[in-house]
Symmetry: C2
Subunit: 492 residues, 2 copies
């Protein structure tokens, strides 16, 4: 297949949009802002889900499911949360369509089926869940509650991009309830670390852990922890957030518990989530002008084998060599595909699997059969070597580990060379324009300065890094004193 993919250097944004479609990950649907996640893209998402779900369970969480709809009155209860999401929510007002008397074959909303109270399609589930927790929590014995939900949510975004920003997206949302503030904060931090571990170990995406500033916090949170990644165009991407919600939702829904000491206290809360947006981060961190580059741990197909042959007899000889190898690879837990379609030439197939980011490609021709060899190509480095059939399984096993490490290292190198310390606003603007990446700078801690910098440069404070050191300095914008550097960047 001919890839015909725009180069990153020409137009990064166009490259991304084309790649998502050409690699058959997702496409726009007939519904404004909603995407169709195609089987290949969904298979990657399933792998992400499997690993995350395991990590959540290992940290003591269980899954449950809460309603899609949030009655308006629940939605209103936590004021800041409501204010934050009211502007972008899909609202169900009726529960029936009827035949349109004016046009045959058409339907219309039945005015007699108007809901007494509108239902908001969940943009996030704190409201519906805390309305439920209210009935589950009476005493400290009922705590903690450590629940996660895999679900779809809807936020009516005006400008959408596949995976990065869509009206409907898939995500998981953890919602936990605790007896003490300290325990809730510990939970929120723990989940940030879980997300970081997932991003780095599975996605090969290095992330910076930190806090959000007040103006970037989740609506209804007292503190938002985040992991921030850097894309190849120098823009940052928020890859996951974990919120310490204080007692805000407990107060909004009147959720109190009898403590061990006999007092009646409001419950402490956290929520945390990652979404199909991670797919965007994965694609943009590693892929190149030839297509996707997938980390072996998340690749739906880890190894593809392509026969080079003329006629059914040669193909059959290759097949006889390949089938036992496939069995051996599968026994090692490696997913492998043998593409023996006779409708496409090898070159077409090479291009296709390159575009789809399959980490390892094997080719087997007549000479390989005679010599007991395989041609082994790596997607990450685009290099090839000839490997003896005697050691091919071990070679592939090692190669998959190596590719996973190499992809991570490459992304880490890029990220590390794109964190620039600046000490003046001039320098700040210069780096932002000419280099991109994270800019480490002093900030006076006010929302005004943050807003003005954003207005003038489009850069936002991505986070106050968890490991930021105490350091005397002055705000690059206002010149006021500052004790910590924060990370700015333009962001997705």
């Amino acid at each position: 297949m001919s890839k015909n993919l725009t180069k990153r250097g020409e137009d990064y944004s166009k490259w991304y949009n084309e790649l998502v479609v050409k690699a058959e990950l997702a496409e726009n649907s007939g519904v404004r802002g909603c995407m169709v996640i195609k089987p290949y893209g969904y298979a990657i998402w399933e792998k992400m889900q499997t690993e995350l779900d395991r990590m959540f369970k290992e940290t003591g969480h269980v899954n449950a499911y809460f309603p899609l709809f949030v009655p308006r009155s629940f939605f209103e209860a936590e004021e800041k949360n409501a204010e934050g999401f009211a502007k972008e929510c899909a609202v169900v007002t009726h529960y029936r369509l009827k035949a349109d008397p004016n046009e045959k074959g058409k339907l219309m909303v039945d005015p007699e089926a108007k809901l007494e109270e509108e239902l908001v399609v969940r943009p996030t589930s704190e409201a519906i869940i805390w309305n439920t927790y209210k009935n589950w929590i009476q005493s400290y014995r009922d705590l903690p509650i450590l629940i996660n939900q895999w679900a779809n949510v809807v936020r009516w975004e005006m400008r959408t991009r596949l995976f990065l920003r869509t009206a409907e997206f898939l995500w998981q949302e953890g919602h936990t309830a605790h007896a003490t503030k300290a325990e809730a904060i510990e939970e929120a931090e723990k989940m940030m670390h879980v997300y970081a571990e997932f991003a780095e170990n599975f996605m090969c995406v290095p992330v910076i852990k930190g806090f959000k500033t007040e103006s970037e916090r989740f609506a209804g949170a007292d503190e938002t922890y985040c992991i921030e990644a850097l894309m190849q165009d120098g823009k940052a991407l928020q890859a996951g957030t974990s919120h310490f919600l204080g007692q805000n939702f407990a107060k909004a829904f009147d959720v109190k518990f009898a403590s061990k000491e006999g007092t009646l206290d409001y419950v402490w809360a956290t929520s945390w989530g990652v979404s199909t947006r991670l797919m965007g981060a994965l694609i943009m961190t590693h892929s190149d002008d030839n297509g996707l580059v997938l980390p072996p741990k998340l690749a739906p197909i880890q190894v593809v084998i392509i026969p080079i042959y003329k006629g059914e007899e040669q193909l059959e000889a290759v097949r006889q060599r390949v089938l036992p190898l496939m069995d051996e690879l599968k026994k090692q837990g490696i997913s492998v595909k043998f593409d023996d379609r006779d409708t496409q030439k090898p070159g077409f197939k090479f291009n296709e699997y390159e575009l789809k980011g399959v980490p390892v490609r094997l080719a087997v021709g007549q000479r390989d059969l005679e010599n007991n060899t395989f041609e082994v190509a790596r997607r990450d480095t685009l290099t090839k070597e000839t490997i003896s059939g005697d050691v091919i399984v071990e070679h592939i096993e090692k190669l998959l580990v190596e590719i996973q490490e190499n992809i991570y290292k490459k992304a880490l190198d890029y990220r590390n060379t794109h964190i620039t310390e600046v000490n003046s606003y001039e320098e700040f603007k210069d780096v932002l324009e000419n280099k991109g990446g994270f800019i480490s700078a002093h900030w006076d801690g006010t929302a005004e300065t943050e807003a003005k910098i954003q207005e003038e440069t489009k850069a936002t404070i991505r986070c106050i890094p968890l490991d930021a050191k105490e350091e005397q300095g002055v705000c690059i914008f206002s010149g006021k004193p500052s004790t910590k550097r924060v990370l700015f960047a333009k962001a997705y």
Copy 2:
């Protein structure tokens, strides 16, 4: 814990409702008709999902995800489907809420954010999916498409019951596209068999495979295959359906393909689904007056171990005996829980796990430690025996298999003794009223007769069994000739 569960004989319906809540499977939410699936219930659903997903993949299907919303114009396209679902669909008309100027802290629909075209929350996804397939299918080379989706759907039911009938429910929906009628029919039949295999081998629910009559068919289908189960109160429950959709959706969305022979033909379709309704079938088929009875293959906890002790020292001795056993059981793939809570007495715990249907319960006291024994209790038969520690792992392995078989056999016996052949309408009504179950009777094949019987008796034709034999007879209602018996029953 005291169970306080209504007995099945007193009020089957009340028993079911109480059991679902007391066993912590699900509960009603603050949203009309929508349920909260609690962690224990969700864990069973996850096990169902895992097995079904494996079976779908083994039969060549892949997962994908399509939008939650169906624009009204897509929804209208297939007339029968639209007509079937228009009466019960949730409709999104606006995309924003705003502060209510008349009441502080309240929100209202923003009249300026009215959608040009209403969006229906999917009651089923044929419309949105076939609007997508239109772009995916040009040639026979693009076929078949074998896609499944795990999703939530909404049908605005007026009378709802946990799991059995809820406004929102979780399900999977397969949507396949084929080049020939024969292939599509084969697919629809195959999935009915997959559902039957799942119901019988995993859920221990015996089912009858058959076709629906025209009036019971899925709106938009040419043929609906189904699996029908029988509950302990003699009512039937449709546990899964698989539809041969003919070319109806292809015509509605103009989906044609170039055949190998060069003609341009409409594509043939199927769809098939099972939902969280299966949870209702599982609960009602096996459970008893003491609570849930779960088949080991779907039980989130297969073995629970309860220590009998006085003081921390005795508990510690039990723990030393139990921990290595747990490791051994886990190595065999058996899920096991050690309940060493000191806040509850053993009797309370016995009741709790009985209510929750845990297949095997072990108790370990001081005498057991001295004698190297375990008290082993079976949930299905409520029997106990003392087993030597030397053979306990093998014993439990065998027991889990035995319980799975026994539960199925019991359900099968009940079902088989509740299929009654009748040859007159009097007999029909008598059996329906006094015995229940499936009634095998001749029917003249007309929708009128079917409707009249339903009107007079509330019984519907559950299916025309796949294996129904040719047999000369007369319709029990009209006296007209008939060549096949069909199965009637009152149904959920």
